[in-house]
């Protein structure tokens, strides 16, 4: 049953990474902006959870989600709105700067040691079926991931704002000419991104309640790698890419012998390089093998 166990664990971690990936890809879709500060939304929600850990759980979770969404909208309003016409390099480095500054805020406010956001750790109880041990948090991750991703799919395909977002992602200028409101679609992208970042924070703190200033950075970087490997230009391929990197990461951690375990990062990134060289346009993009010359 161990193989099945690995797969279940992989799917759970993949679902979390997929949620980060969707947040990144939604914003990239409408703005062509790679938002390195996305991880800070996750960290913000996690610290909120720490601050509210003595409150009723439902409130604590709701407030955390609200903080992530609020911070996402604030970032858009104050900073990223002014970057719409900046070169990609400028925009990218500005998101670094925002991430830098926010990380410093966490450092000043909460110190370099971790703070325990112990709200949802009851989810760590195990449900055993035969030799298969599944923690409730695993089930929650898969369930929540599936529901949110399906919801996003419905929103994008069945609603007017979804249609507008897809139009903006395809050709922002043409979409605006046809009456799509730039602020509305970009705001919605950030809102959803913030919401998903909040959910990711809830799920992550259930398994690792210790929140440090770099809590959200690592997962964001890896999810971003996954998004690009999957194919950044399309939401579905980007999400699949995020899922895949979470899945492979979990799987490698399980199957590598312990002496090689420290080199997990190397194996993962080596795989990333090979895949990128073979399919530069994205693994999950049909016809992605053809090399693209794109704007930088």
């Amino acid at each position: 049953m161990t193989a099945l166990q690995y797969i279940v664990d992989g799917i759970a971690l993949g679902a979390v990474y997929a949620l980060v990936a969707v947040g990144l890809a939604l914003v990239f879709g409408v703005m062509r902006l790679v938002n390195f500060a996305h991880g800070e939304l996750i960290t913000a929600a996690a610290y909120t959870l720490y601050l509210t850990s003595s409150w009723p759980k439902v409130f604590a979770c709701a407030i955390s989600l609200l903080v992530a969404v609020g911070l996402a909208l604030l970032m858009e309003l104050v900073i990223f709105r002014r970057l719409r016409y900046a070169t990609p390099a400028t925009a990218l480095v500005t998101t670094f700067a925002v991430a830098f500054a926010l990380e410093a805020v966490w450092l000043i406010a909460f110190g370099p040691q971790g703070k325990s956001a112990d709200v949802l750790s009851s989810l760590n109880r195990t449900a055993t079926h035969g030799s298969l041990h599944i923690r409730w948090v695993t089930i929650t991750m898969v369930g929540v991931g599936a529901v949110l991703l399906a919801g996003t799919g419905l929103l994008l395909n069945r609603t007017r704002i979804g249609l507008e977002m897809r139009a903006a992602a395809a050709d922002f200028r043409a979409a605006r000419l046809l009456g799509v409101r730039a602020n509305r679609v970009i705001g919605t992208a950030f809102l959803l991104g913030g919401l998903f970042a909040g959910v990711v924070a809830l799920l992550l703190t259930a398994t690792q309640p210790l929140v440090t200033p770099t809590f959200g950075l690592q997962i964001t970087i890896l999810a971003l790698v996954g998004v690009v490997v999957g194919g950044m230009d399309r939401l579905v391929s980007a999400t699949l890419g995020g899922f895949a990197i979470g899945f492979v990461n979990s799987l490698l951690g399980d199957v590598l012998p312990s002496s090689q375990g420290v080199f997990l990062t190397s194996f993962l990134y080596l795989l990333v390089i090979v895949v990128l060289v073979l399919r530069p346009g994205g693994v999950f993009v049909p016809g992605g093998a053809s090399a693209r010359v794109e704007r930088v």
Partner: protein
Amino acid sequence: MRISRKSLLELGAPALLLVAVSVIASLVSVGSQQDFITALVNATIVIALWVFIGNSGVISFGHISFVALGAFAAGLMTIETIVKPNVMPDLFPFLQHHSVGNVPSLVLAALIGGIVALVLGAPLMRLSGLSASIATFAVLGITNNVLTYWEKIGPGAQTLSLVPETTGPFQALVGALIALVIAFAYQHSRSGRLLRAAREDPHAARAIGVRIERHRLVAFTISGALAGLAGGLLVHQIGSITTNQVYLDLTFLTLAMLVIGGASSLWGAVVGAVAVSLLDSFLSNAENGTDVIFFHLKIPNGGSLLILGILMALALLFRPNGLTGGREASLKSLVALGGRLPRLGKARHTV
């Protein structure tokens, strides 16, 4: 290569700035000297970044891996052979029993950076845009991971220490000037011009027969070698190094220096590196308390990062093409710098 009076100024202005930083470094107290040497070493790294990023337009997250390789190679080969078996017992015998002098170690650092960049660049330069950026980031991740855990080639997770501290104001200046001249020569070479043509319009460049991958590889190799050299300078400046000193933070910081200065000009790279580096040092000193002319300044831990982040964001919001506007140094812009601030630059690209 055509060198006119105008291009002499383009080389002379950044060179003079570097010389000025070095002169100040040799005049100030020992404590502040390191800040100015750091500025020169950072300038070398950013010039290396510029050779590739500035000319090709492809953002590389991987250059700090060449800095890391250069730093560890130069450091490892200049530690005395007597102490090596004690501090690093698992080292390959060849590395354990050989040492070289200061200058050969810097040459070695540059060679390793260049060779690794050439080998890795061959497959990676086929990629463009974000795929290329992420692939170079993967290179950084692998380099860091291997250097941290493979104890046959280095100290692993421990600090590599006891490295001779040979990088003073003079060596840092010579290193930075070598990088500057090589970068300038590449900028004015045929390959550099073709690569910038491809940066502006890849389709048109390809259509007139520019082999983009080849020129990217040339730039990548040169910038890898310069980054390796910078790593050598770095390890000889601080006398010790850990893998985390040459990882994500340095990657972000040097990229920020390049973009804040103005990524499309060599002048911008040098200005950005010197300005942000000095600001960063000043703010970190202020965390421990520092005397500014009239008063004592002390900011809380993490405060330097916060102010740096905010200032960087502001600089980019108000001057999206960098402090220099991405233009090379010219008499006009230098006069303008002295007289009045240049107009706020309008970004070129649209969404």
